[in-house]
């Protein structure tokens, strides 16, 4: 049994979790799999605090080169996050023929092509199960389970913070700010929660999934993104009345020779299986040609689930190494030609609208006229009693309509003198 030496870069929450899992499971891994995985170095700026773990202080270093240049290190685990200097560390590790395990979704989404190219050129590989959906085995499922299938659609609830906030608003009837504060209190949201609630985190993750699902490199800038910052409690309530819930959905789907890549709040029928994914949970629904539909559901974040996914990657690499130290053969070839993404303007979707209008008889006919002129037909309407400023809420669901027609119609409607506030428009997914 050869020893596999691991160097860990980043000793924060997830990093400490990885150390904990490796320490607790060392004997089991030896017994169950015949693997001797040794943590040779831990690199972090803070090498004083031991994070409540019993570790040999001699393996703590603040000099990352000790890991990157150590001939004995076969696997480098990068858990510092962010693009720089994570990218430089990983590229150097790959150049030195080390396998890399990372949970860095921003880096893989934005600079993945370069990273994976470097891995291939050096005959090693990058594992990243923890980058999407925490411990949900979505990367493994796409790389291995569905390897013979052509994936058609990926729907993901892949940001736990947003899902927790929307679930709280729906269940407790509280507004966005209160739900966000609650999420921060429970540790589900950072003190700066921007990337979670503005959809950026989900966009990183769906870019990673789209690359694997469709076998093309993805230009991250092609992902259309809207967050949940403007979701109002009353919209959650009106949606519920009509049998829908609102989720921050990440969508990657094939349509007419190109692909849609988008992240936005979305109305989903309450009976749909994704509508029942609540709290900090994540879920990913896949549709593929042979398997049909399947869904993976689980904790999308958290120290130990994420650490467990990192360790499962370390083990996969270690098993491969014990079989052969030659070139890794499980690389999935990705076409370097960028995925052809359909611009949001060309997409057709059903919409939920809420107009805040003066309580006057002609309001509905004025709105309906503008919608008709822009090729948007109305599926259903609810008009709600008087609100503040003498205004009423007019709530509508449309049939499928072109995004650019929607944008034009909203512009015209918002300019009507009877409209008191900016209109609310949320996409609905026929799932």
């Amino acid at each position: 049994m050869n020893k596999i030496n691991v160097g860990l870069i980043g000793f924060g929450t997830i990093g400490s979790g990885v150390v904990k899992v490796l320490q607790q499971k060392a004997k089991t891994l030896e017994k169950k799999l015949g693997l001797n995985i040794s943590l040779a170095w831990i690199c972090d700026l803070d090498i004083e605090s031991t994070r409540g773990l019993d570790i040999d202080r001699n393996i703590l270093t603040s000099d990352v080169q000790k890991i990157l240049n150590d001939q004995n290190i076969q696997i480098v685990v990068e858990l510092i996050g962010g693009i720089h200097p994570a990218k430089e560390f990983i590229l150097q590790a790959l150049k030195n023929k080390k396998f890399v395990v990372t949970a860095n979704k921003a880096l893989l989404a934005e600079e993945g092509a370069e990273i994976f190219e470097a891995a291939k050129a050096n005959g090693v590989d990058v594992y990243y199960e923890a980058s999407v959906g925490g411990a949900i085995p979505i990367i493994r499922t796409l790389r291995e389970g569905l390897v013979a299938d052509r994936v058609e659609t990926v729907y993901g609830i892949i940001n736990g913070t947003s899902n927790y906030i929307l679930s709280q608003m729906a269940q407790k009837g509280c507004d966005f700010k209160i739900a966000l504060r609650e999420a921060q209190k429970k540790g589900y949201a950072e003190s700066d929660p921007s990337l979670d609630i503005n959809g950026g985190d989900s966009a990183h993750k769906i870019a990673i999934l789209a690359r694997l699902s469709f076998g093309h490199e993805v230009d991250f800038k092609d992902v259309y993104v809207e967050g949940i910052e403007n979701i109002d409690l009353c919209d959650i309530r009106y949606a519920a009345e009509m049998g829908y819930c609102i989720k921050l959905l990440a969508i990657a789907k094939k349509s007419e020779g190109s692909v849609q890549l988008r992240v936005h709040p979305t109305l989903l029928p309450k009976k749909h299986i994704l509508a029942n994914v609540d709290g900090v949970s994540n879920a990913i629904l896949l549709r593929s040609d042979f398997v049909g539909e399947q869904m993976l559901h689980g904790p999308g974040a958290g120290q130990l689930p994420t650490a467990s996914a990192v360790v499962s990657d370390i083990i996969s690499i270690a098993q491969k190494m014990q079989g052969s130290l030659r070139q890794d053969n499980c690389l999935v070839n990705i076409d370097p030609e960028k995925l052809k993404v359909n611009l949001i303007d060309n997409i057709e979707t059903r919409y939920y609208f809420r107009f805040s209008a003066l309580d006057e008889p002609a309001v509905l006919s004025q709105i309906a006229a503008i919608l008709g002129k822009n090729n948007i037909s109305i599926y259903s309407v609810i008009q709600k009693g008087r609100r503040q400023e003498q205004s009423v809420h007019v709530v509508m669901m449309t049939h499928d309509a072109k995004e650019k027609d929607i944008a034009q119609a909203l512009l015209e409607i918002n300019n009507l003198p009877v409209i008191k506030r900016k209109s609310v428009a949320i996409r609905t997914e026929r799932i």
Copy 2:
């Protein structure tokens, strides 16, 4: 790129699906993974009909030895099902150092120890993703994704036929026989549906999952099994009134130093995520120490999903082979000591009861007295109006009670002169 030669034994529904998937995806596999997988032989008793596929008739044979003794065949795919002669074929293939892919749950559940031992002794391995949950990547998740976790509980809805029948009864209000006939008409149930509806198929599958989850060989006879044959529509309705649905649940869970292994109809709270798994779908919920709870959900059967899982196994083996033709190193070591299974009598569960009793004042007190004497306390009671033969239904939910106390109480209650029919008792899982 070396050619990987595959020999297929069994050219029925799943076998034809595998041929179809391999044919359709040959070019993709070559491009995406650099694999050249060639179907060298197809063995079946019927080598006349081509199953609507365009195949070279020269690779069809009814002589299985052509596959088992062909030096060029590296992977044998067994899809004939049943214990014999599948077992003998697989053992011979392993002895000849061939990797084996199978969907044979009966064989693996009942004779798995011998099969896996032979694989290990010959430095090869057996892959069986398709044996449980069709294309749901549950085997891969347990073997790889959760490799660092200690699995505590496995809950599975893993028989599509039973789940379809129970879903139809609940949704359409039809009785068991009609739902079964509907399932047969749609091809979801065999003309002899015994193994599906009596729980035997789920028992095979949970035995396979328990072995992998807990790392011990399982004595299949230790699995307690009850089927859905006796589920009456009125019980589904009473359960619904109390906020529950009835599912055929397969359970493997650790409790006090041993393990519970059981398959039986089970009341589940309607809000639970497993309660929403309807129709022929399968779902498996896993609880483990680091990851917590996760659920995999998808089509549990069907030609193409199952074939896709078989092909994913073929590909995993082929990838491994291209890396190294030496001993396979991904064997999970299973302790040959049989899993210590808790006898059903020692288990404590909550129960749903339905008593058919004479509509007399003293009925409830007589029943309650017997339950009390046997240490069973009542959680809630509904008494339903008069039914046929002047009898009423008394429906109860209990608190946790010992199985043997339940059995004793039912025996005494069924002997009461006021009781008109055999009482109904269905377990409830606090999930």
